[in-house]
Symmetry: C2
Subunit: 168 residues, 2 copies
DNA sequence: GGACGATAGATGCAAATGCATCTAGTTTGG
DNA sequence: CCAAACTAGATGCATTTGCATCTATCGTCC
């Protein structure tokens, strides 16, 4: 967690390619990110402490969730890894745990012998749905009283745009 | 982690106190949170991998940063803990590490003998500023091309409002 | 087609994290 | 004023994480 920006004046000899970047611009970006970051922390803290995640840690649920939304039902480990804030090795071991609990199954990627396809088992799908139901309820309890529908729409639009326009 | 919402229909027998909550409301909230969450992960992943955080892990920087913005320069551990996505014990040990590196100092809270006040040392302040400068530059590089100034303002407003209206 | 560099994932090992518990100081109730 | 309940933070210990490295497959270039 380190979103914040310090107080430096920074006339900054940074990129002057197209539109030159002012200190004001930089400060706004830093404050915006900090606000986004702190909100995420605050919401996540509350969600994590709910009863929904006694059954499965949040990171592990997220993998089940991600698989559940995928149309084909199977994803490569590296695709999942982009989605999640975990190192490659941590994800690998997290999947070990899920597999040992019988919630997911590894299989070899048909088009790439190095790759691993991960899919939900029946039990994994059940558990995902079960936790998911509680989870959504918790989310709604936090967001509905805080933001109007229009504000939520706008927040979603902005965060989607941000994500879409990131490099990589 | 686990932001997402599953696909359940959920006519939901939930709270019907004031304005009744529709399935649509719930779905919008869940999608909004997922988008916020994924954006945060995507941005954080890029920030973390930058050179700014080779010197100090992100969580540790965040504590230094938090202290640096506090007017009095000192904060209670439990106050810091609210800010950060870490358990109480993890924060306690994180502070041990910072203290061993000479970046912060513990002192006893004057009004409460149980409490610990944490303050930056000179070295801690220096390091915070140094990392902070790079960090802000990285943030600006990610956000400026993605969102206009007006959009950033709005994103900041919405995330601030969300955080302010959370229970607790 | 065989060597060379790149990529997907797994693994050894040290460090970080969380849960449960412990200690010590504070507040409350009688 | 003392005991019981509560709060702030520290600590033992098992689990999780990340870095570095390793193995195996893929792609390329000659």
């Amino acid at each position: 967690m380190s979103s914040p920006a310090p107080a430096g004046k920074a006339p900054a000899g940074a990129s002057r390619a197209a539109g030159s970047v002012s200190g004001k611009d930089v400060r706004l970006a830093a404050e915006t990110w900090e606000s986004l970051f702190r909100s995420q922390v605050a919401v996540m803290r509350r969600l994590q402490s709910g009863p929904a995640f006694k059954k499965l840690p949040v990171n592990e649920y997220d993998v089940l969730f991600t698989l559940s939304r995928c149309p084909t039902g199977k994803l490569r480990l590296n695709e999942i890894n982009d989605h999640v804030l975990l190192s490659q090795s941590s994800l690998s071991r997290l999947v070990d745990r899920l597999e040992k609990r019988g919630l997911v199954e590894r299989s070899i990627a048909p088009e790439d012998g190095r790759g691993i396809l991960l899919g939900l088992t029946e039990a994994g799908l059940e558990l995902q749905k079960e936790i998911g139901r509680e989870h959504v309820r918790d989310i709604a309890e936090l967001l509905l009283p805080a933001l109007t529908a229009a504000e939520q729409q706008e927040l979603m639009r902005l965060t989607e745009k941000l994500r879409a326009k990131l490099p990589g």
